[in-house]
């Protein structure tokens, strides 16, 4: 029973969060910052684009460091 619950939770974690949990955490933090800045007189629309512009290269750099060239055809090809 515990194994089934674990598998269920793992499925939803993989489905929503995916390969890099830092992306999910950073998106939530950026949304929270947008909410806070929006309550002031300052513009807040730029926060998410800036977050994506930082997040994506950093996540790709981590993947680049982790994978060897022979990673082609390896697991997780979906």
């Amino acid at each position: 029973m515990t194994a089934k619950i674990t598998a269920f939770l793992k499925f939803w974690y993989d489905f929503i969060v995916g390969d890099d949990w830092r992306i999910a955490v950073a998106v939530i933090a950026a949304l929270a910052l947008t909410e806070v800045v929006s309550s002031t007189s300052l513009p807040a629309w730029w926060i998410l684009p800036a977050a994506v512009a930082l997040l994506l290269p950093l996540s790709l750099r981590r993947a680049h460091r982790r994978r060897r060239p022979s990673g082609l055809g390896g697991p997780g090809s979906r």
């Binding site: 939530i28 512009a53 990673g71 082609l72 090809s77």
Partner: protein, 257 residues
Amino acid sequence: MSSGALFIAVFLACIVEAVEALTIVLAAGTGRDWRSALIGVVAGVGVLAVAVAALGPALTAVPLTGLRLVVGGLLLIFGLQWLRKAILRAGGLKALHDEAAIFQTALDDARATPSRGRGVVADWYSFTLSFKGVLLEGLEVAFIALTFGANQHDIPLAALAAGAAVLVVTVAGIAIRAPLARVPENSMKFVVGVMLTAFGMFWGAEGAGAQWPGADAALLVLIPSIALFALGLVAILRRAGRPPATAGSSITGEAHS
């Protein structure tokens, strides 16, 4: 613009997932038992239909600001996942999606597993393989269709786009009776990743109270900007010393098999 983008995003995402589901169903049917595989398809589609029918009206009842914050955030996380994988594939750091190879592996597995029936299902392996394939691939499409549809208050249009894509793939699959290896899946995933990221960003920021300069017209800047940024990242990854994933790859790393 938004309705067109909604249709295109859901249609492309659904084509990609339907092609992947078709490969699994073909392997189950060809390698084992067609009747059991098709019962699995019907059961998978049935579960998806119930989930969409239950969640669709519930989502449209949520206040738009809260919906855009939560759904925009989820869509942005989801979109960045798609885009990240697409960039890694195009940059040669991840294997390109190859339906022919996936079909062969699934077919070999299907043929190697002993047969066993349960109830009206003559071959349980074919049934579960098809059922899981349709359900898991379909869940991503259902998520995209529901979130886009609910935000645009146009779930019927999202459902139409998804239905049209499934119909196109089903007809093509019946016609050629082989995995749709020539569908430019990797490029399509790239486009879907860009659109999910752009819409997730747009709705998420609006839900959090931000005002976009130019309101909806901001999407006309966001979508091409994200696409160019992602293509730039692909170029950097390729220049970083990775060999091209396959000979003759296009700019988005498409394998024209």
